[in-house]
Amino acid sequence: MTETSTRAVRIREDRPTRPSGRWRRTARFIAGRVIGLALTLVAASLVVFFSRFVVPGDPARFLLRGRSPSEEAIAEVTRQYGLDLPPLQQYLNWAGGILQGDFGRSLQYRDDVSTVLLQRLPVTLELVALAAVFIVVLGLAAGVLASLRRGRPTDRVILVVSTALGAIPSFVIAILLIAIFAVQLGWFPSFGSGDEGLDRFVHLILPALALGLTFVALVTRVTRSSMNEQFVREHVEVATSRGLTRPSVVLRHVLRNAISPILLVSGVLVAGLLVSSAIVEQTFGLAGIGSLLVQSVDRLDFPVVQAIVLVVVIAFVTVNTIVDIIQPLIDPRIAAGTETR
């Protein structure tokens, strides 16, 4: 479904001939990326929609959970939700609706899917954003520190701790965090998302840590190895021998060149965060998209499932496309449109 994120990068040896040619190539590259994005989304929407038909169970039955529904009622519900139409017709109606912002109606809530999603999206976005901040801050800090202390005890401790954290599933971390910080110490609330503003922030600290800690390990290791690679590079040696201060060498020459691989894992991170958020949300009683997805899959609420999966796919593919497009801007050695896949 998604492209592999390994990219073979060809280092350009020749200087660009004319700026206009480079600009045109960049434009063509971006256009190609955007068309690819659109095609991916259409393909994804087909898969997302038709996967429903391989799942056993009749949604109409879910809508009539009483004792002994009447045959008329079953027929009526089937008609109301368009379940009696041929599948292709259903797909076209659904896709057409989405283009107008209409994701259909949720079976479990008897409400518009868009209403339900909009209610829940903020919490998930805030949670993922806060987790991302933790990941970047902690991961970068630990990675940079480990790299600066290459081979010393500090480096080893960071490696061991981050590897251990990376191996513990989010839900275990979540339970531990709740037991220690919410129940025993009472510093943080143990569930819910609180009210907008500071209260929300306080409520999201523990869940964001639970969500982020697993990924900190990844960022730490990528940062560390990427920087170590740079440290032995000629230009760094040169910069150091020219008497530049250590901080400026680290910042301008090492980190700047090490950032590329770190950016590459961000696409993977976004997807991973969205997937893990389901578990963390469930544990902390947060009403986000993740917990909604889990619950909707179980309840055969396919309009909601389809909408969420589609939104996640859009997010994932878009982030990857953006990374592709800004990669050349950050790293001048990669010319736009010249990498092979």
Binding site: R65, G66, R67, G192, D298, R299
Partner: protein
């Protein structure tokens, strides 16, 4: 876990140890390991200490989120726990399971096919409009509308017409005598909501965006999807005795049992119905609140969901019942907070029967005391040795896991191969609504509660071709008794027939009864006043809760 055959052991010890370990793990971090002296014993209380005064707000935990607050779809714990405080029915279901006037001041039954309700005057809806018989007619008729697809359709299946027959009078006529219709007018099917609001909202009535417009002591404020539902006091409520003592009540949705127990003990949430049985002892030992036990109308049983398979033979079903040591299982599965029973109906719904009939219903029936020898013999007779049986379970309730394990090891003892099929909570609830979900499942556990004070509510669903007769069990004699009972409007005669139905059901075991369970409720130190009873599903229980003496 594989065990050597022939190792004769009761399912008890291994399971009890496993459960207590699970319990300890689940509750570690709640800072309570001291178990009180009352562990595993309980007494029912009719009420809790009266409040010292009003309270600004309190919070209440829900285990699952309601799907909708439309009474037509209020068919489960969560929906009705919330709705019962905002919407009222024609009749009222009291804490002792008696029925008294509600939005109808009286009802008459002039002939077997006619029910005449006198509608209360001067009742306001939450939007300030006055309730009229027209609202009653529209509210009841909705359940017959296929476009609505009411979950309560079966309550109305014999209804021929609902009409306004006087200035304050509504008459319901049925096609045949139906004793059950009027009984359920004290539950969700009897709820009256504003006809205007219902028509205006259309399919959105009762959902997150719209809420409900009824007559109860609380009115709908806000529903935050997946998180909470808030209601506030309705100042123009008609019944001064049930004026809400709280300005605001917030229901907090917490699926995770551990999170719920934690939040109750830390006081983050003030109260909850139905405490997980494995948390009752630690919670009773804690000093931040109290657990109360009350009248229930719930029996935990095992639904036999496939009569085509090996369980189609009544001897195998009896063997399973005999192979379960229910005394031991009550300790292991519900920590002693349940009473082993041989009946599918709780004793509480027989309150209006005379003593002789009640004795006949509970004593003169088959009893299945633990007897492995006889169970083995029955399996042999039926030639069912080595048959594969699938038991579906989930983590929906802490007891389910234990019951399924106990069943599997009991099966092994008597020569049956019982396989456990674990499903997610939501997938498990589909067993009760989607016939496709039952494919390949021979049995599963249920906590089956009744919504009226009548054992026939249980037995009528076990008639041939009833939707909730999941195993498609069919017994002509049973059908005949139940049909006659349903059509009998005289209470004494009806209970006598119900006792016959109970005798047949216990003898034939379409479902295997396990325990009669008490209702449980937790209130933290801040609040008091609720009546612990299953009637909370249809009675404005939250109105009675106020500030506790501190």
């Amino acid at each position: 876990m594989k065990r050597r055959n022939g190792a004769l052991r009761r399912p008890r010890t291994g399971i009890a140890v496993a459960v207590s370990l699970v319990g300890v793990l689940a509750l570690s971090g709640c800072g309570q390991s001291a178990i009180g002296q009352h562990a595993g014993t309980f007494e029912l209380t009719a009420e809790t200490p009266a409040p010292a005064g009003d309270i600004d707000r309190f919070t209440w935990a829900l285990t699952t989120e309601p799907f909708s607050l439309d009474p037509a779809y209020a068919f489960d714990y969560a929906d009705n726990t919330v709705l019962s405080n905002m919407c009222e029915s024609l009749l009222r279901w009291n804490a002792d399971l008696s029925v008294s006037p509600g939005l109808a001041t009286s009802f008459e039954n002039p002939d077997p096919l006619t029910w005449v309700y006198t509608i209360r005057e001067g009742v306001q809806f939450h939007d300030g409009t006055t309730m009229t018989p027209h609202d009653v007619v529209v509210s009841l008729q909705r359940h017959l509308d296929p476009e609505v697809g009411s979950f309560w359709y079966s309550t109305f299946q014999n209804v021929a017409s609902v009409e306004q027959t006087g200035e304050h009078e509504v008459t319901v006529r049925t096609t045949e005598p139906d004793s059950q219709f009027n009984q359920l007018m004290s539950a969700a099917p009897g709820v009256v909501q504003s006809a205007a609001s219902t028509e205006e909202a259309g399919p959105d009535y009762g959902n997150q965006s719209t809420g409900v417009n009824c007559t109860g002591p609380f009115q709908f404020e806000e529903w935050r999807s997946g998180e909470s539902i808030t209601m506030s006091r309705f100042d123009d409520y008609w019944d001064p005795d049930l004026r809400a003592r709280a300005d605001e009540v917030e229901f907090v949705i917490l699926n995770d049992a551990n999170a719920r127990v934690n939040a109750l003990q830390t006081g983050e949430i003030d109260g909850a119905w139905t405490i997980p049985t494995n948390a009752i002892d630690p919670m009773r030992a804690s000093d931040t609140g109290n657990v109360y036990f009350g009248t229930n109308a719930t029996v935990q049983s095992i639904v036999i969901s496939d009569m085509e398979g090996p369980l189609g033979d009544v001897r195998v079903r009896r063997a399973l019942a005999l192979a379960l040591d229910r005394e031991a299982l009550a300790q292991a599965a519900v920590q002693g907070y349940g009473t082993p029973t041989d009946s599918l109906t709780p004793e509480s719904v027989w309150r209006d029967a005379d003593d002789a009939t009640r004795a006949r219903a509970f004593d003169d029936i088959a009893h299945y005391d633990y007897d492995l020898e006889e169970a083995r013999e029955l399996v042999r007779e039926a030639g069912a040795e080595g048959e594969r049986i699938v038991f579906a379970t989930s983590s929906l309730d802490p007891s389910f896991d234990v019951v399924s394990q106990a069943m599997a090891s009991a099966g092994k003892e008597i020569g049956l191969d019982i396989e456990i099929d674990t499903r997610s909570q939501n997938a498990y609830t589909l067993l009760f609504s989607d016939p496709a979900a039952i494919e390949g499942v021979d049995m599963f556990t249920t906590l089956w509660y009744l919504s009226s004070t009548d054992p026939l509510e249980m037995y009528s669903v076990l008639r041939t071709d009833e939707f909730s007769n999941y195993g498609k069990w069919s017994d002509p004699e049973f059908d005949d008794v139940v049909n006659r009972a349903v059509a009998t409007l005289d209470a004494d005669e009806r209970f006598a027939l119900a006792a016959d139905a109970q005798r047949i059901a216990t003898d034939q075991l379409p479902w295997i009864p396990l325990f009669d369970l008490p209702a449980t409720v937790w209130m933290g130190d801040r609040i008091t006043g609720v009546d612990p009873s299953i009637n909370y599903l249809y009675f404005p229980w939250a109105a009675k809760i106020g500030r506790a003496e501190q």
